[in-house]
Amino acid sequence: MKEILEIFISFLKVGMFGYGGGSAVAPLIHKEAVEKRGWIDDDEFIDIVAIANSLPGASMVEMSTAIGYKIKGLLGGIVAAFSITLPSMIAFTIVMIFLNDLITEEVLNAVTVPVLAVVAALMFSLSKKFFLQSKKELSLAIIVLVYLGSFPLIYFIRIYPSLVIVAIVAYVF
């Protein structure tokens, strides 16, 4: 029961402060599930992010489900998925009903834009950590090659991350 409550609190926090949606929320999940609670290690976290990106549907639902499921089975997965999603969905609906006329797009943009820079910094910090880990496991040339293979495909050509994962894994083997 204590664990279920911890799952609820952790993912509620991520859902309420997770700007950007999808993989942009992964650093907050990492903070809670790996650094703070120690539910999973870095390698498991990476696997979960990769699986969530390879499946259709919302990555936030899928990442939280996997972690909750690992700690407390199906109930843990369900609690995690609902606590990361539902509060923001309720909050959004309330904002749309009551506050929509009061807030202008200008105000919304002003609030969001600095937060996006912070989310970028959060992701950069985690990327740095993973880069240092990869350096111990693979040669620098291979790491850079995989970065150069995946980043432009996703950013410029807008290929789904799932296809990139499949393609690079298939190429390596």
Partner: protein
């Protein structure tokens, strides 16, 4: 009522066939909610997207559940929320079990090694996109300073991300009032 069931069905189809998540949901829902079901006008949808991007949480889920509420009240909210969340839970549990069963094999352990840089590649694409958006909104100097300061606080000083996020929101509010 018929409209609500059509909406629930459409959400299920979107969730089961949309790869990428996050921002990818926005055009998918536009096609469904504006063009095919006509629940929102194009103008309303644009306003919804502006608010969706400014609030935390699941991008697609927020749009789906609000459309449900708009169409059929609390029952609509519940059904569309479930349609958005439940398929993800089922798919992940199956995939997670499958991957864990394969994990013992040598191939899977090797794949894991390469997955790490791929995930960083996915992160890099989001970092560049968000930096680009914040520089567009704040200008070069301010955008880079906020990014660098946030990185210093998060990475070097190990500050709690939530505090830095709240700090950025407060900064944004103060900034517009000056």
């Amino acid at each position: 009522m018929i409209m609500l069931w059509r909406l629930v069905l459409e959400i299920l189809v979107i969730v089961l066939f949309t790869f990428g998540g996050g921002a990818v949901f926005i055009p998918m829902f536009e096609r469904t909610l504006v063009e095919s079901l006509g629940i929102f006008s194009a103008q309303t949808y644009t306003a919804i997207v502006a608010v969706v991007n400014s609030l935390p949480g699941v991008t697609g889920g927020k749009i789906a559940s609000y459309a449900g509420f708009y169409e059929a009240g609390v029952l609509g909210f519940i059904l569309t929320s479930l349609a958005f969340i439940v398929p993800g839970i089922i798919m992940m549990v199956i995939a997670y079990k499958f991957v864990n069963r394969m994990k013992q094999s040598k191939i899977m352990q090797n794949i894991s090694l390469y997955i790490k840089p791929i995930v960083v590649g996915i992160f890099l694409s989001i970092i560049v996109k968000f930096l680009d958006l914040s520089i567009q909104g704040l200008g070069w100097i301010e955008g880079v300073i906020i990014f660098a300061l946030a990185f210093y606080l998060l990475d070097q000083r190990k500050m709690q991300p939530i505090f830095v996020i709240v700090g950025a929101i407060v900064y944004g509010i103060i900034r517009i009032n000056i």
